[in-house]
């Protein structure tokens, strides 16, 4: 009997131990929310390619800056050379800021009443402001390789805004523009900008009853004028500077 009891107790203990082990491992198994979501390899590869391009650009820009700094430090006694370097730097910077004219290849875009008059009323059930769509169009061009964009010859920069005040008044850089037919000039990657433009065409028809037409300019003669408003910074100062 005693042996029977011991054998029984032995099997009961083994069973209990096994159950405790299974329970412990079940508790520690990763939950669904802890596992990273499945991501398409194609999407990751596209992002990786983009980041590699950025990496190449950063490496080359770093070298350029290091060379420039070395030049400034080595020619610190040669003030004429330093002055020339600063003037060159100013010319490049004004170009990046949008405060110089640019002449190159690009797209001459017009937003106008459609050739098919039945489309002229738009079909959307709620109104979409012209300013909002124009802004979206310009941002789409930028995302598709535009280097310089002007709406009715008003250059868009980091300080630019586009705002619809009323049915007949839309301001670009705080200046009212003609909204019957709007001309946009965009210098940059023509093929890529056309792809971006095509995504906007249905939206302009649907919400504004206006057609977007684009003409390629490949003779290098498309002129995007410089930003023409005064530039002055009252609040923004370079980080680390005591005064401008």
């Amino acid at each position: 009997m005693k042996v029977n009891h011991r054998v029984t107790m032995f099997f009961v203990s083994v069973l209990l131990g096994a159950m405790l082990t299974v329970q412990f491992t079940a508790l520690n198994r990763p939950k669904a929310e802890d596992v990273e979501p499945y991501v398409d390899n194609l999407q990751l590869t596209a992002e990786l390619s983009q980041e590699r391009e950025r990496n190449r650009y950063f490496e080359s820009d770093l070298k350029r800056l290091e060379n420039q700094i070395r030049m400034f430090e080595s020619k610190s006694d040669n003030h004429a050379a330093i002055a020339k370097a600063i003037e060159d730097e100013l010319a490049k910077t004004k170009r990046l800021a949008g405060t110089t004219d640019m002449v190159s290849n690009g797209l001459l875009i017009t937003i106008e009443p459609p050739s098919n008059a039945s489309l002229a009323v738009g079909t959307a059930t709620y109104p979409m402001l012209l300013g909002e769509l124009l802004y979206q169009l310009c941002q789409t061009l930028n995302s598709n390789g535009a280097q310089a964009v002007a709406v009715e010859n008003h250059r868009l920069t980091s300080l630019s805004s586009i705002r619809t005040i009323s049915e007949v008044i839309t301001n670009v850089n705080r200046t009212a523009i003609n909204t019957q037919t709007i001309t946009i000039k965009a210098i940059g990657n023509i093929e890529q900008m056309k792809i971006g433009l095509n995504t906007m065409k249905p939206t302009f028809i649907e919400y504004l009853g206006k057609e977007i037409k684009a003409q390629e300019v490949t003779n290098g003669a498309l002129k995007v004028p410089a930003y023409d408003k005064p530039v002055d910074f009252t609040y923004a100062k370079p980080e680390g500077d005591k005064n401008l």
């Binding site: 390899n41 770093l62 802004y135 910074f233």
Partner: protein
């Protein structure tokens, strides 16, 4: 005779009880384990190639992040050298030339800047969509971000950034599928806005009746974005832009 039977009876009863409890526990254990296995089998298995690509992507993003910081440091150093050159010899390098360069570097977004301004965040709504069609009203769209940036610029903001992506001449804020891209970089929500300018004017412009904040968060507009209170600060810092301006910088 009774004494001998009692211990046996007690033992039998105890063992029966223990076996019954054990049986119950076994049944419960089986049920739990089955449920856990079913849940685990629903988790999609990772593509090993995707895992490798994701790892490479993570490394290169880290490398790019530190290159960006290095470039920003060098831009600041260059700015200091120009200032020193002008301070040292005002005839060769006039203060006006130095100030012009600084001004256009700020406008181009090349220099990190600091000044009075405001900060706030915009994020998707915390509500659950009552039906799938309502989901689009609860998430932050590229058009929402553009609307806010435009409003800040109308109100005189001198520099604006979203999640440290500085707004420049060639900035594009667009959606590619479910992702918001700013300056060609994927930017996840929540979206932190920083703007340098007159704080009172900036806040008034955003909080006007019928203004952008109301449009994006008022229930009657069916938009319920989570927008934090606009915080005024005497010193908001925005990083510089280190990209290539769509090839213009090369």
């Amino acid at each position: 005779m009774t004494k001998k039977r009692n211990p046996r009876v007690k033992l039998t009863v105890s063992l029966t009880l223990i076996s019954a409890i054990l049986g119950l526990m076994l049944a419960l254990q089986y049920k739990n384990t089955k449920a856990a296995t079913e849940e685990y089998s629903r988790i999609p298995t990772k593509d090993p190639r995707a895992a490798y690509t994701a790892d490479q992507l993570k490394r290169i993003k880290e490398s790019n992040k530190s290159l960006e910081q290095e470039i920003e440091k060098l831009n600041k150093k260059l700015h200091t050298l120009v200032k020193e050159a002008a301070d040292f010899d005002k005839q060769a390098v006039s203060p006006e030339l130095r100030d012009e360069l600084t001004k256009y570097k700020i406008m181009a977004g090349l220099l990190p800047v600091k000044g009075p301004g405001i900060t706030f965040t915009v994020a998707d709504s915390r509500r659950d969509a009552s039906n799938p069609d309502d989901l689009k009203y609860l998430i932050t769209h590229d058009s929402d971000l553009r609307m806010i940036v435009n409003e800040l610029l109308v109100a005189g903001a001198e520099a604006v950034a979203i999640n440290d992506q500085r707004i420049t001449t060639t900035t594009g804020i667009v959606c590619i599928g479910p992702t918001v891209m700013i300056n060609g970089v994927s930017v996840p929500q929540p979206f932190e806005f920083k703007a340098i300018g007159n704080p009172t004017t900036l806040i008034s412009a955003l909080e006007n009746k019928g203004g952008v904040i109301e449009v994006l968060s008022a229930p009657e507009n069916k938009r319920f974005l989570t927008i934090s209170p606009r915080k005024q600060s005497p010193s908001v810092t925005l990083p510089g832009y280190v990209g290539d301006y769509n090839g213009l910088k090369q």
